[in-house]
Symmetry: C2
Subunit: 273 residues, 2 copies
Amino acid sequence: MLYIVGLGLGDERDITLRGLDAVQKCEKVYLEAYTSLLALGLDASATTTLEKLYGRPVIVADREMVEQMAERILDEAQTSDVAFLVVGDPFGATTHSDLVVRAKSMGVKVEVIHNASVMNAVGACGLQLYRFGEAISIPFFTETWRPDSFYDKIKANRSIGLHTLCLLDIRVKEPSVEALCRGRKEYEPPRYMSVNTAVEQLLEIEENRQENVYTEETMTVGLARLGQPTQLIVAGPLKQLLSVDFGAPLHSLIITGNTHVMEEEMLNFFKQQ
Amino acid sequence: MLYIVGLGLGDERDITLRGLDAVQKCEKVYLEAYTSLLALGLDASATTTLEKLYGRPVIVADREMVEQMAERILDEAQTSDVAFLVVGDPFGATTHSDLVVRAKSMGVKVEVIHNASVMNAVGACGLQLYRFGEAISIPFFTETWRPDSFYDKIKANRSIGLHTLCLLDIRVKEPSVEALCRGRKEYEPPRYMSVNTAVEQLLEIEENRQENVYTEETMTVGLARLGQPTQLIVAGPLKQLLSVDFGAPLHSLIITGNTHVMEEEMLNFFKQQ
């Protein structure tokens, strides 16, 4: 059996009792470490924290490893219990649907244990979950690569009054260009997009496209460390978020559509004076 | 402190370790019992199951009770630790934002402990969470009340290619018309809308409106008991779902928008031959 277990938003104790039951009976425990980030980090001490809680060794699997090892993980799951741990909910990220498809094709039994993800926890800001449209991902701009296709999605959402959740870029274990040139495996330090960078990029795109999809005055919500004790939520016009210090990652951003009275009442608690 | 604790999708062991920690240190524990339904039911034996797990008495609070008692709950939370338990995620339903607004206005500290909700767990069917538009609620038709405003929302979602999650009606503790006439407090037995009823109503509306928002052939997904061991997911054309027996509640339904290859691959596993 392959257990795909959601770990929730950040703390090791965000796992459910059912998730813990599953992990504790598994022979192998893999922790997916490339679509998100545990609040507790992914260094050795963090893994130790998980191992203590689970009473099992935890194998940290980055993207390369999962891609290379998927077959082996699935083979193991055919004859024993294997846990694949995912920050958030198992289906927050597309990549895990792929694992399920492969498991089903091989006849491996899969049990999914759900948990909170940014996709539903953003409700904490007071905007109603059912009034969100398509979520977008904002990648880091580079000198030569400044994509803006998500601008059209924000436009489509706002055209029917819906909010847009912007998931901000996470770069973990990116090979450094220098190392690539020398044929060596070396990685850039991890980078996480801040709300401020996202706002800068959004303003640049609006400046270029001039379709008035949003303005500096559009009501937005910046969220940092959602669901953790240090969570910070600030609501305000897009340009105001430029100057807010949201602190440590992960960050995300919401561009509002039409808001209802109840939503506005909640947002008021998150506005800065 | 007021702890608002998400219980997840159905099993009492879907609570998180952090949620359990909070509940166990609270003096009073209220269980909200009107926006959703625990798989384990809400009769005395179910409450006993929760009480055994928590080591605390659990006060089941229906809508009337929460509305009448919100002030008392918040007063208690000003001087002691109080838990308010919600099936799914605390912000899956609008009503709980209201409790937070009132708490914040009174200066009561609130800690939210997130969990899975239908809003993110529907990812289990293979449709990607970020490609959903506005979610709709389909109420039971009566002889004289056959609302169809959600038809326009499906239309708007589909116009930009997005999927629509349909939340199906739950009627718990509805006063019976007969009892109302006699001035007595008596309640109808609980009713939960099945996928089949939802499909019938949707086809009736399309028949009346004739705007080709969807047809009998539109790809849909019926979901029953999401996240529970007896979960059933069936993908197929709208009219085909009419004749599928989805069994016990809760049910929900997805009307797809544009689907990607990866989504179709997953849906194929849920199609009936």
